[in-house]
């Protein structure tokens, strides 16, 4: 026989403990104090953080490593458009449930990080007012070109243009990715390296196999050339 | 003086509310006009020092009857409450004539046959006295009323639940 309504009292005891505890144990409070300077101007576009880059990075890295907000595009080098990973295959655009991605493919090819001439996105827009942070674009991308950012300061006074992130807003370096999501970035890089190695190995093996095949073929042909008269005889 | 202002205002609101309730095409607007009428009437009861009746008027008419009417409209009409078809009934003219005739018949004694107007006596309205009256001389009436309400409740539930109508009756026009 439990006390009638005992569950409610138990729950209230838990919340009371949290309430009182939050005043005495500072480590209970999970929020960090948000450093906004009164002199900061309001950003005109989402992601334009009115702070210096260092501070901005610190701000995104103060949130936990597992925080994800909206997607960003990765590049590998110092010059974003030379080493962009995205090849404008438009898979993410098709898969996006709220259809917040808009891509225009470039007309000509250009060398990218892989050293091969590839298409690149002439336009790559994400409407963050529509995006629901589902991370499906990240799942489907075959080139590891799109990953989740954790930047949260996105407020702007402009409801329409300000919340539309352009390609150049979205491009972030791999180093930045390593800073905000170290574990995930390391795992991803490792996987990319392994895949690359496997590809290389496969290529090598394929080349060897082709060589072997060619040798065998040559040998067989030589043998065949010798044996053809017999065969002709046999068939006749 | 203040009593007169209150009377004229409340009676104007009551008559207007009743007229709108009766003539408005949109039924939901009509119900709200009806509630304004009930509220004005409750004010008139208060003016007549029948404060318990005024409270009951609000409680029963606005709180219960009005809501019930709203639900009935939502169940039977379109949600917007617009009565799209022809609003007036066939014999509307004769209806008006009869209403006017009844008005005259009601008005004549009110004006003529009563003794000259007398001032209201000072009374001490007491809910307690009303309660004692309900419990002592009128207790049988109260019990019968309770039975009636129960019967009405059961009747309403059965009527609204509906009897299973056979299929062929449904299809016949």
């Amino acid at each position: 026989m439990s006390l009638l309504g005992g569950g409610i009292f138990k729950g209230m005891a838990v919340t009371l403990r949290n309430f009182v505890g939050s005043y005495f144990y500072k480590d209970r409070l999970t929020t960090n104090d948000y450093s906004w300077r009164p002199s900061d101007k309001l950003p005109q576009r989402a992601g334009e953080y009115p702070k210096e880059e260092g501070e901005q990075l610190r701000d995104t890295t103060t949130v936990t490593n597992y925080s994800r907000n909206f997607p960003m595009l990765l590049h590998d080098g110092s010059e974003p458009m030379d080493t962009i990973r995205c090849v404008a295959c438009q898979i993410c655009e098709r898969e996006c449930p709220p259809q917040c991605i808009y891509i225009e493919k470039s007309t000509e090819k250009k060398e990218n990080a892989g050293g091969k001439p590839q298409f690149f996105p002439a336009t790559f827009d994400i409407d963050v007012s529509v995006c629901m942070s589902c991370q499906i674009c990240v799942e489907v991308c075959p080139f590891d070109a799109i990953v989740m950012n954790s930047q949260f300061e996105l407020s702007t006074p402009d409801r329409f243009g300000g919340l539309l992130l352009r390609r150049d807003d979205l491009l972030k370096s791999n180093g930045y990715y390593h800073k905000i999501h170290p574990e995930e970035a390391t795992a991803r890089d490792k996987r990319i390296a392994e895949e690359k190695a496997a590809k290389e190995a496969k290529k090598k093996a394929a080349a060897e196999a082709a060589k072997k095949m060619a040798e065998e073929k040559a040998k067989a042909e030589a043998e065949a050339n010798e044996g053809t008269p017999d065969m002709e005889e046999n068939t006749e | 003086m203040s009593e007169q202002i209150a009377f004229w205002m409340l009676s104007a609101i009551a008559v207007l509310g009743a007229l709108v309730a009766v003539r408005k095409r949109n039924l939901i607007h009509g119900v709200f006009a009806l509630m304004i009428f009930f509220a004005a009437l409750s004010g008139l009861f208060l003016l007549l020092l029948a404060e318990f009746i005024a409270a009951v008027q609000i409680l029963v008419y606005i709180g219960a009857v009005g809501i019930l009417l709203l639900f009935a409209i939502m169940l039977t009409e379109r949600v917007t409450g617009d009565d799209g078809r022809r609003m007036t009934s066939r014999g509307w003219f004769w209806g008006l004539v009869v209403a006017a005739a009844v008005f005259v018949i009601l008005l004549l004694p009110a004006i003529q046959e009563l003794p000259p107007p007398e001032a209201a006596q000072a009374i001490d309205p007491s809910v307690k006295e009303l309660g004692h009256k309900l419990m002592n001389p009128y207790v049988v009436t109260l019990e019968v009323l309770a039975l009636l309400l129960t019967a009405a409740l059961i009747g309403a539930v059965t009527a609204a639940q509906g009897v299973r109508i056979p299929k062929e009756e449904d299809s016949s026009e």
Binding site: - | A21, A50, V65, A72, S89, G91, L153, G155, A156
Partner: protein, 103 residues
């Protein structure tokens, strides 16, 4: 304010209700009108009580109290009937419920 004022007001309200009941086709509006008439009658009772010889008897409020209770029951049953009728005829238009009429 005298009794006459209240009686005339009640007469006006009653006739407004009567007019509604006679001139509208919608069953629910007819129900509104009946309510208006009942309330006009209640106003009469209270007014007569207030200006009566012996208000301490509380006849007016008591009668009105019973009338309100009966009216509440009436509305409940009336609306239940309207809904039942709506189920059957798919309308609350009083003039299209004419199954008994000879064609």
């Amino acid at each position: 304010m005298t009794l006459h004022h209240y009686l005339i007001l009640a007469a006006v309200l009653f006739c407004v209700g009567l007019m509604g009941a006679f001139t509208r086709r919608n069953a629910i509006v007819v129900l509104f009108s009946v309510e208006i008439m009942l309330n006009a009658a209640n106003l009469n009772f209270i007014a007569f009580w207030r200006y009566s010889e012996n208000p301490a008897l509380l006849h007016g409020p008591l009668f009105t109290l019973f009338a309100i209770a009966v009216a509440a029951a009436e509305v409940a049953v009336g609306l239940a009937l309207v809904i039942a009728v709506y189920r059957h005829f798919k309308t609350v238009d009083l003039e299209s419920m004419d199954t008994l009429r000879e064609e």
